[in-house]
Every structure is written in structure tokens, then in C-alpha cells.
């Protein structure tokens, strides 16, 4: 669950401030390819990612292009019984096709076609705009998404929603999108992770000859974005929501993950009536520990106090046994989560996108095994010195209508 949270909460997207993503490989025309051979069944999961921030002023453009392509790609993959997923993380624009390994070349061609999107029709554009708007609204309207967005905006201002902003959405015309894509794409930003009954040479060969980058990316008329940091509308909340997030950039990621898990366990023990989510946010923007509590109204004071003292209380009781057990549990959850080719490709791919190192997943897994309580103590003490980002959403008060 914790590892899943680590993986699945890294879904915020880069917007448009001038931030570089994980470094592209200089002057490389072929994609970086990582293969995890899993010959159990004749399936392969192919995860193609393009490391990219949306250009300044065009937040959400990468995800918009994904929406425009999605139904066509999905239908083509379905012709061989496969499945397609799109994902926009803070690090990359991602397409994952899972299907028969014997269809490797066919599936690779479909994914490669996503790298040269055509100018959309007006119908398709309107439909994709509506889908993106729904994503934006759902993130703001519900307390769960709202709390995370507000914490993320305080810690990582450039890391705004994958769905962009109201303002940037007005700039996605059918003529602008090809120019935006030319600013996002070049072959050296592409990584491919393949998991399944395939060999490295075959995957390399299937993904050779990627579309070329635009020789001279066209200048876009807007060069800055405006990001609304405040609430657009009151979120829906029947419980109170209290959250705190601590920057943890530069610290050992495995230790941050374990510290996050231990903080979550501690808060659950202290607050049995409260829903506790503890998440390790880890993108190219940096790392953070996020704690989000959904609290019944009578317990709000108690929850605020517990959240405020969680770091110091955990520091007081920290011991090697708890650290080792937490690390073992996370390793076990990593294995369980990545038991299908699609999930394994997702896990390996997120590490590759972030670190640019094909062995990053193995290194993280090994680091968990060698952690001791001093490593975790360092993380907690670091966080203790910081002023955390905070969010609080009061529960809605329902008044019966007077006739």
C-alpha cells in the first residue's frame, strides 16, 4: 500500500515554469531501452516515456495530446487483444501497451506513432478539452485531491496538475498543438521499458528509427504561465482534512520511504478513527513526505496535535527492529505490486524516468535491505528542522432547509 502510494501519487505533472526534467541523453537518436525478461506467459508490456515539461504557458499540453490520441491507440492495441494506458507524471508523458509478445513489432509501431501526433480535428479537440477540464475540476472539488494539490503547490510550485490550468487550456488550438509537441519531443528524451517474453535486441530493433525531432522548434507566442495557487471552489468534505508535507530532497530515497511508512503507522495507532494517508512524493522536482488525514469533526483537535508531534514522537521511539520490519514490508509490497508485466514496467519505468539509470529500481530495492535506524533518523531530524507545508479543510456543515 505504501509503495503503491509512492508510485501512484507521483501523478502531478510539470507545468510551465522553466524547470528542466531529468537530463536528456545528449545527441542520442535511439531510445534508452530497459528489458526485464519474464518468459512465464507470452505477454509483453511496453512502456514508452518522453521526459518533458509542458512549455511555458501551455500547461497540460502533454496530457491533452495523450487524450487526443488515446482512443485510436487503444483500438489498435485491442486488435491483438492488448490493452493501452496513458499516464502523465511529473517526469514524463507515458504510453504503455500490453499484449502478446509475438506482436512486439506491431505494438511498438503503435507506440512510435504517438511520437508524431497529427493536427487534431475540431471535434477531437473539443472532446479532449472537456476531458481535461473534468480532470482539473475533480482535483479541486474533492477534498482528497484538493489537499494534495495545495500541499504540492506549496512545496513544488512548478509541479502543477497534469491537466493544466483554465488559462493554458484556451491555447490548445489545432494549429498550436503540433508546435507545442515540437517543443516537447526529441528522440533523446524517449525511454522504453519492456517487461515480458522478449529479448533486448528485439525490443531495440522494434523501437529503432524514432521520428526525428523538429530541426528548429517553432517559437510559441506565450512564454510564461499563470498558476492559481488558491482554491477555485470549496472542496466537498464531510470530514475535516488536515495535511502536512515536508521537503526531503537530497536524502536517501529508501530512508524517506521507510520514514513515511513509520509516520503513517504511528498516526494510525494514535488516531484509530482517522483515515491516514502517508505518501512519499518523489519526482525530478524533489522528494517530500506528505501526511493527509481525514478526520471526524469531534477528533479534529486531537488529529492536529498528533500530526504536529508525529515527528518528535517517532524520533523518541525509533528503533532498528521497526525500521527493518518496515523496510521488509515495503520490499514485499514492491514484489506484490509488480507481479504483472504492466505493473513491473510501471515501477521500473518510474525509476528510469526519474534517475535516468536502468538499474535504479534494483538499487532502491537493495538500499531498503541495508537501511538502519540512523538513516531514518536523519530523514526525520531533517524534516523536524523544516517548516512544513500545511493544509486544513473544515468539514461542511449541513443545515436543514427551513420551510
Amino acid at each position: 500500500m505504501y509503495f503503491l502510494a509512492v508510485m501512484m501519487t507521483l501523478l502531478g505533472a510539470a507545468d510551465s515554469l522553466l524547470v528542466s526534467v531529468a537530463p536528456a541523453r545528449a545527441q542520442v537518436e535511439e531510445p534508452a531501452v530497459v528489458v526485464h525478461r519474464q518468459p512465464a506467459v507470452g505477454i509483453v508490456a511496453l512502456r514508452l516515456s518522453v521526459l518533458a515539461n509542458d512549455p511555458p504557458g501551455y500547461a497540460g499540453a502533454g496530457h491533452m495530446i495523450q487524450h487526443l490520441l488515446y482512443s485510436s491507440l487503444r483500438d489498435r492495441v485491442a486488435r491483438v487483444g492488448g490493452e493501452l494506458q496513458i499516464q502523465r507524471t511529473s517526469d514524463a508523458i507515458i504510453y504503455t501497451a500490453t499484449g502478446p509478445a509475438s506482436e512486439l513489432t506491431y505494438l511498438a509501431e503503435i507506440l512510435k506513432s504517438a511520437l508524431s501526433p497529427k493536427a487534431p480535428t475540431t471535434d477531437a479537440l473539443l472532446s479532449a478539452e472537456r476531458e481535461l477540464r473534468e480532470e482539473r475540476l475533480s482535483e479541486w472539488e474533492t477534498a482528497q485531491g484538493h489537499a494534495r494539490s495545495m500541499l504540492r503547490a506549496q512545496l513544488f510550485p512548478p509541479d502543477v496538475s497534469a491537466a493544466g490550468t483554465e488559462r493554458s487550456a484556451t491555447r490548445f488550438s489545432s494549429s498550436a498543438l503540433p508546435r507545442i509537441w515540437s517543443a516537447l519531443y526529441s528522440p533523446d528524451r524517449v525511454s522504453v521499458v519492456a517487461v515480458g517474453d522478449v529479448h533486448l535486441e528485439d525490443v531495440r530493433s522494434a523501437f529503432a528509427n524514432l521520428p526525428e525531432a523538429a530541426s528548429e522548434p517553432e517559437l510559441l507566442p506565450i512564454s510564461r504561465d499563470s498558476i492559481v495557487l488558491g482554491s477555485l471552489a470549496p472542496p466537498q468534505a464531510t470530514r475535516g482534512w488536515v495535511g502536512a508535507a515536508y521537503l526531503a530532497s537530497g536524502l536517501e530515497p529508501a530512508a524517506v520511504t521507510v520514514a513515511t511508512r513509520l509516520l503513517g503507522d504511528y498516526l494510525r495507532r494514535r488516531l484509530p478513527t482517522v483515515q491516514v494517508d502517508s505518501e512519499h512524493w518523489w519526482t525530478h522536482h524533489g522528494q517530500a513526505i506528505a501526511l493527509v488525514l481525514a478526520v471526524p469533526e469531534p477528533d479534529l483537535d486531537l488529529a492536529r496535535r498528533a500530526l504536529g508531534t508525529a515527528l518528535s514522537s517517532l524520533l523518541d521511539d525509533l528503533n532498528l527492529l521497526d525500521v527493518t520490519e518496515a523496510a521488509d514490508a515495503i520490499r514485499s509490497e514492491m514484489l506484490f505490486y509488480s507481479r504483472t508485466p504492466g505493473r513491473m514496467a510501471e515501477v521500473i519505468g518510474q525509476f528510469v524516468d526519474r534517475e535516468g539509470d536502468p538499474n535504479a529500481t534494483d538499487q532502491f530495492y537493495a538500499a531498503l535491505d541495508s537501511l538502519d535506524d540512523d538513516d531514518v533518523r536523519e530523514v526525520l531530524e531533517h524534516a523536524f528542522e523544516l517548516t512544513p507545508a500545511r493544509i486544513e479543510i473544515p468539514p461542511q456543515t449541513l443545515h436543514p432547509r427551513v420551510q
Partner: protein, 398 residues
């Protein structure tokens, strides 16, 4: 011709157990898979319950494993209980270094630990609440109705597999205790495991869990499908049309699976069939026989027309041969979907355990489809008897 086919099915059902040289343990070694999925499958189900005890198998299974869930959780093992008509399965997914410990904990609970009354009471309340919550679900109602029609109202498989809220609430601790002692025994157990395993040592471990008892004969009572259309009034805004085709144990299983796929494709949404909401197909093989089950969801005012379409779906497949490239396209997609259905190791372990139960052996996951010609499929389709159909939805009076 069809009467002969049905007679053959009934004969096979009656004497199905005699025709098996039954292996009870299967291991598939899968380097590269991150976990081990193991399944203990018991040939126990509604056929072992008395009429008034519907749901006893499932309650017994849940009660016996509930106390070990925290222990399994502590070593990162995930347990799931899957009830079916002819068997109940315990599926365990765990890290390779703890799978033997996890299966050991499970087998001890199943074969040695007596249930405790508090757990039985808690699980009984929990199952009854789950079933109560699903009682208004038309999908469940459609399944109950087709089971009753296909297997017969007096056949144990015609009853709901996990019982009803009322039947479960009636079950007593003593019934659970004696049911476990009599039926959850190693002689009725099949064990399968997939993952990064050494086949010899994994087989030895699973055999040690089962002990030295000989496999008990599989004894499932025969049934006779209604083979006609049955209307069932139900207060919903959609109509559910379900058809079941029986096929004999020695039928061309792969062709039958492909027929299920083709029938669903024929009935699915298209520019000419825009009113259909959902189509599903399932092919189940059991000892003695198998079943192709199709289910569609349509607007109530079109239910008669859709009932005819479902009844005639095989005739249309037989009457109009496909162009070779169209057929090849279907086969290509079907092959991919078959593989995708086995993407998770627990699904592969379950398929292996089912093959042990039904075929007495595990011989890999996916049968070859190379020889699945259009002629072979047509021959298999022609051997199918008239389907049993249930139309469940609002009537004109509603």
C-alpha cells in the same frame, strides 16, 4: 444428433471421475516472475451441502482462514478465497522467500486447526451483509436465474454458490465444524504453484502439505439443462438476457472457447447494434461437461428481439462463413485476450489448479491455436445443443 450429445454429457457426468488418472500437484517454474502464487483447491462445493445449508462451503472456508489473515499479512502474503460450483480455492500470493511458510500456515489452518465459534459468527454476519448488499444487483439476479434453469432447481448447483442472506444466517457453528472435518480433507485437495521455483523442491513441498492420502473420487451429480427460454420478472431499468450452451467433457475445448468469443463479438456494440449496453461471455469446463455462457444487457422494449438474436447466434456463425482475413483477425485478437487473462500469477495458479481438477494434469498455460481452423470451429458449434435462455427484466405489466 443433439439428443445423443446430451446423453453423452450425462453419461460423462455420471462416470467422469473414473476416466481420470488424477495428478493432484502441479508446479510451473517461471523465472522472472516476482512472486509465488500458490493455490489449494478443494473439490468441495454446493454438491456437498444439504438443501437447507446453501452457502455452508463458503462460510466454512472464510471461517477457517480468518484467524490466520493477520499472520499472513505480517509476512506480506495475500490470501483470497474463490468459491465455484464444483470447488473452492484458496489463493496465496507471497514473496519467493516466504511462500513455503505461507502455504504451511494455510494448510495447518485448513487441515488441523479447529474453527472457533466467534469467528464463525463474525464471518456469518459479514457474508450475510455482503449478500444483502448485492441482493438488488440485477447481474447477481441474472446469474441466480440462469443457474437455476441450467442446472435445474433441484440440483445443488442450481442454488446460489455462496447461499442467500437467509440461508447463511441459519447456519450454525456445529454445521461448519462437521462440514470442515468431513470435506476439507487432503484427499480432496489439489495444489498448484507458479513462480520462480525449483520444480522438484516445490512439488515435494506441496506434496508434503497434502500428505499421503489417496485422491478421493470426484463425484458430481448429473444435471439436465432446461434447453428452453424462461422469462423472469425483475424490477430493473434494463433487461438481462443470459444463454448457456452445454458441451460434453470430450468436446474440442479450445474451439468452444473461441466460439464463446465469436458469439460475444457477434452480439457486441456496433453501428448496426447501438442499443446493446454490455456483452460478456464465459467458458467453464467442469468434470463431465462444460458450458458456454453469454450474457447481454439491453433495453427492455427490445428484449424479445435480442432473445432471438442470442438464441440464433450460433446458427448465424454456422450459416455465414467468414472471409479468411476477417477470421484471422478474430483469431489474432482472441489469442491475445487469452494470454492477457493470464497476466497475473494468481490467475495462472488458478488455471493450473482447475486443470488438475478437470483434466488431472497441468501441461502449460495456453493451448496452441495454430490448428483452430474455421471448419473445426464450425464442427464444434454444430455439436452444441439448444441453449437454456433466461430473460430477466421488467415485464410489460411493470
Amino acid at each position: 444428433m443433439k439428443a445423443v450429445a446430451l446423453a453423452a454429457i450425462l453419461l460423462a457426468q455420471s462416470f467422469g471421475s473414473d476416466s481420470h488418472a488424477q495428478a493432484r500437484v502441479g508446479v510451473l517454474s517461471e523465472p522472472g516472475t516476482s512472486v509465488v502464487a500458490a493455490e489449494l483447491l478443494f473439490s468441495v462445493g454446493p454438491g456437498d451441502e444439504d438443501e437447507y445449508q446453501s452457502g455452508l462451503t463458503y462460510l466454512a472456508a472464510r471461517s477457517v482462514v480468518a484467524p490466520i489473515e493477520p499472520l499472513l499479512d505480517s509476512i506480506g502474503a495475500h490470501l483470497n478465497v474463490l468459491p465455484e460450483k464444483d470447488a473452492i480455492s484458496f489463493s496465496l500470493v507471497s514473496a519467493p522467500d516466504v511462500w513455503e511458510e505461507a502455504t504451511g500456515i494455510l494448510s495447518t489452518a485448513l487441515f488441523r486447526d479447529p474453527p472457533d465459534s466467534l469467528t464463525v459468527i463474525r464471518e456469518r454476519a459479514s457474508i450475510a451483509a455482503e449478500l444483502q448488499g448485492r441482493s438488488a444487483n440485477p447481474a447477481d439476479a441474472a446469474t441466480r436465474a440462469i443457474d437455476r434453469a441450467f442446472f435445474g432447481p433441484d440440483h445443488p448447483w442450481g442454488r446460489p454458490t455462496v447461499g442467500t442472506p437467509e440461508s447463511v444466517r441459519r447456519l450454525q457453528f456445529g454445521e461448519v465444524e462437521s462440514f470442515l472435518r468431513e470435506n476439507f480433507v487432503s484427499s480432496r485437495t489439489f495444489a498448484a504453484a507458479v513462480g520462480p521455483l525449483d520444480p522438484a523442491s516445490a512439488t515435494a513441498h506441496l506434496e508434503s502439505l497434502l500428505g499421503s492420502a489417496q485422491g478421493a473420487p470426484l463425484d458430481y451429480p448429473p444435471f439436465e439443462p432446461a434447453e428452453r427460454s424462461i422469462q423472469a420478472a425483475y424490477n430493473s431499468i434494463t433487461t438481462w438476457v443470459t444463454a448457456s450452451f452445454i458441451f460434453p467433457e470430450d468436446a474440442d475445448e479450445e474451439a468452444m472457447r473461441f466460439i464463446g468469443y465469436l458469439a460475444a463479438a457477434e452480439l457486441s456494440f456496433s453501428p448496426l447494434q447501438r442499443s446493446i449496453y454490455n456483452v460478456e461471455s464465459e467458458v467453464v469446463t467442469r468434470v463431465g461437461s462444460g458450458e458456454i455462457r453469454l450474457q447481454i444487457v439491453v433495453p427492455p422494449e427490445e428484449s424479445e428481439a435480442w432473445e432471438e438474436r442470442v438464441a440464433g447466434v450460433l446458427t448465424r456463425l454456422l450459416d455465414s462463413p467468414m472471409l479468411p482475413d476477417v477470421y484471422a483477425g478474430h483469431l489474432r485478437r482472441y489469442a491475445g485476450e487469452q494470454l492477457m487473462a493470464l497476466a497475473a500469477p494468481e490467475d495462472r495458479a488458478h488455471a493450473a489448479a482447475r486443470r488438475l481438477l478437470v483434466h488431472g494434469q497441468v501441461d502449460g498455460h495456453i493451448p496452441g491455436l495454430e490448428g483452430l481452423t474455421q471448419e473445426r470451429v464450425r464442427q464444434a458449434a454444430a455439436s452444441l445443443a439448444t441453449p437454456t435462455i433466461v430473460v430477466l427484466g421488467p415485464t410489460l405489466d411493470d
